[in-house]
Symmetry: C2
């Protein structure tokens, strides 16, 4: 199957259509496939209805070269996806005793017996392969026909992802459907809007006719993805254009690639051999969460305090009562006291704090809902900054976390020399 | 346009296909529409390609009665969605000076001037309506033809949601496309797997032939949605079946409706007029985050400590060094000390704690990766519990948060009488 290949993903599961769960599978598969040069062309989310499954699958199979499905392989009676797709393909499903043995083993380890309804998970396509599932009962399925591939993956994330990485990626690379080289160069930016970044990039776009530029925006981050149609630019040329872009993007440039803002800050602090603690009011734990999503975070990140009440701000972080009386909890003064307080109490080199009104309640004339004060305590100084966002409570929380991280990133960059000198004097 | 109506959602935006962002719009629209009796039938995510947009839209328009699109209305040159769809419909776009005035006003308030590229956002369908956007530049668009409706919404969440709630919902209810009564009865459960819940529900399903039951699973929660085909059961009958279901589900029953576990715990504590603080190691802020996502959380939730290092556990929460030496930070003993420590330091009635190995690193023979110890401190006693999960770091974090909340919910229910008596004795 030569490139270019059209890829379509079909996600089964009513929970994706009725507001129960976000479609994390599509995000995951899209990132994995795009990275190796095969962006998903189209995705559908289909209701658990036999006719709908058959029609959608037939249409996808007719118009795509690679179809990946997620979900619908469970043991319950309403999971008829396997059977409907086999019917649409005109392919036969056969009972595979080797799958049954694996499932029985799995239950045995857990000290249980395999229930009868798991029998339906032991079927595979007659001329197809089984993608072994080490984390759950339903194996993935692989089937090839008419020069096309079908990959069916189980719904639970912790089952789907290992199967995809350990079995599907190598299989597709072996068949030369996927490249083993990354396909685009990404510059992550933060601080300016999409249109500003587009304007900054314009001279570079004008200078390179073969260049394709795509922008992706998420909570204050704008990603710039550089590639070329028909691979007319090689990787070295893309990298050199990437360096030009880095220059014009200035301080908005965060990193090449996909690093989270928290990870960029984490790496900076790791390089300086320094530690951090956070104090958060309105972001309520999500700033700490951003750091603790990094495996090995504890090398830098000591922890944090979610200080939702004034008592906690005073008792745990030592914010003076008179400061709260005079300036209020949502103030630059309080933000600075929180940052310094948490650094002192946690014995860390740096402290980062967020206090504000995430809404919908709270807010006053000076600090309307969406007003966020940031505080930053470092070995070379103490700063505060105020930002303001519109949007719902969860939006404001997410924007505030990115604002705090991006601000700290810029400060670390600006005072790098001073911080390194401070480091030299540590202990 | 009479019911039943087929609804299709088309999400534009390469970022949804290449792993940049989860499709929160589909989750939001699905929840809103399903609640009022019009579940989304099908959804597609389409790449930013003019032909692809035209083809997908034409297919959706041919097979559905209501098509809702998100994204693609931005001012940048690659946003050609409006134009492509107009072409597919054979409909004319006209420049609307009243839109331009609104956009100009918006920039004026921000002390800026409207850039020329925003002109393209001032077009609407010739016989269509404008859905005013108070939070951004691109308005939504409404168009009717052939007895079908098209609704185009801008991509940013904080723009899309107010337009949908303030303008689209009332419009669709006025046209009797949506009901103003809720369409299904949901029972939220936690603690058992989908197949167990299905087995518990079987006698009820057998007893009511008209009943339709759907299950939705997310991180240890299983939602049971009761409805009936063709509305053959009225709301009172559904409620009475819901009560039967509640009985058979026993302690796994969390609530009717969509309340988060954190909100259920919040309401219980609010009713008791009691306060809570949390201490978390491996969940790193996401337990606190679950509470602070509730507007008005501060009435119950004082805050928490993310205690990533042993120093923080000792210095901030008073865990004895000898306890850490003897049992380690990942132990039931430490979990209890954290729960009691945070309740004491934060002067709250309750303390809830989580410590464990979320992976991929860490873990030992006694506590392999995925082992989570929970601690609970209440006015009537102190408890610990150990759970174990497979899955990636983020999965384990999410499961651990739900496990802690569900455990606290059960304890609060079990000791309600004792807690109320304690309450009586408060101060």
């Amino acid at each position: 199957m030569p490139q270019p290949t059209k890829v379509e993903v079909i996600n089964f599961g009513d929970e994706l259509l009725v507001g129960i769960r976000e479609n994390a599978h599509l995000t995951y598969l899209g990132e994995q496939l795009a990275r190796y040069g095969l962006p998903i062309h189209r995705a559908r989310i289909i209701t658990d209805d036999l006719n709908e499954i058959k029609n959608a699958f037939s249409d996808a199979w007719a118009h795509s070269d690679l179809v990946i499905t997620t979900g619908g392989l469970g043991p319950t009676a309403d999971d008829m996806t396997r059977e409907s797709i086999a019917e649409a393909l005109g392919a036969e499903l056969v009972f595979d005793p080797s799958i049954e043995i694996v499932i029985q083993e799995r239950f045995k380890v857990m000290g249980r017996t395999m229930a009868a309804h798991h029998k339906k998970q032991c079927y595979r396509f007659k001329d197809g392969q089984v993608l072994r599932n080490d984390r759950g009962t339903a194996p993935g399925l692989y089937y090839e026909a008419e020069g096309k591939c079908l990959i069916m993956l189980p719904g639970p994330t912790h089952e789907l992802q290992p199967i995809f990485e350990k079995q599907v990626l190598p299989l597709l690379q072996e068949k030369e459907v996927l490249s083993d080289q990354e396909a685009y160069l990404q510059l992550r930016t933060c601080g300016s809007g999409e249109s500003t970044i587009e304007q900054l990039m314009q001279p570079i776009i004008n200078a390179h006719a073969e260049l394709t530029v795509a922008y992706c925006v998420h909570y204050g981050i704008v990603d710039v993805r550089l590639s070329s149609r028909d691979a007319s630019l090689n990787w070295e040329q893309l990298q050199s254009i990437g360096q030009e872009a880095r220059e014009v993007l200035g301080d908005d440039f965060v990193c090449f690639g996909h690093c989270s803002l928290a990870k960029v800050v984490f790496h900076e602090l790791r390089a300086l051999d320094r530690t951090l603690a956070v104090a958060e009011s309105c972001t309520g734990g999500s700033l700490a969460d951003a750091f603790t999503n990094i495996a090995g975070a504890s090398k830098v990140f000591a922890g944090g305090v979610v200080c939702y009440t004034n008592d906690v701000k005073m008792d745990i972080l030592g914010v003076p009562e008179c400061l709260l009386d005079q300036h209020g909890a949502v103030s630059s003064e309080c933000a600075v006291a929180l940052a310094s307080g948490v650094a002192e109490r946690f014995s860390t080199d740096y402290g980062l704090s967020v206090t504000g009104f995430a809404g919908p309640g709270g807010g006053d004339e000076a600090n309307p809902v969406g007003t966020i004060h940031l505080g930053y305590h470092s070995p070379v100084g103490v700063w505060c900054k105020t930002v303001r966002y519109t949007g719902g409570r969860l939006d404001v929380k997410a924007r505030a976390v990115h604002a705090a991280l991006d601000w700290m990133r810029r400060k670390l960059k600006k005072y790098k020399m001073e911080e390194m000198l401070c480091c030299g004097g540590k202990d």
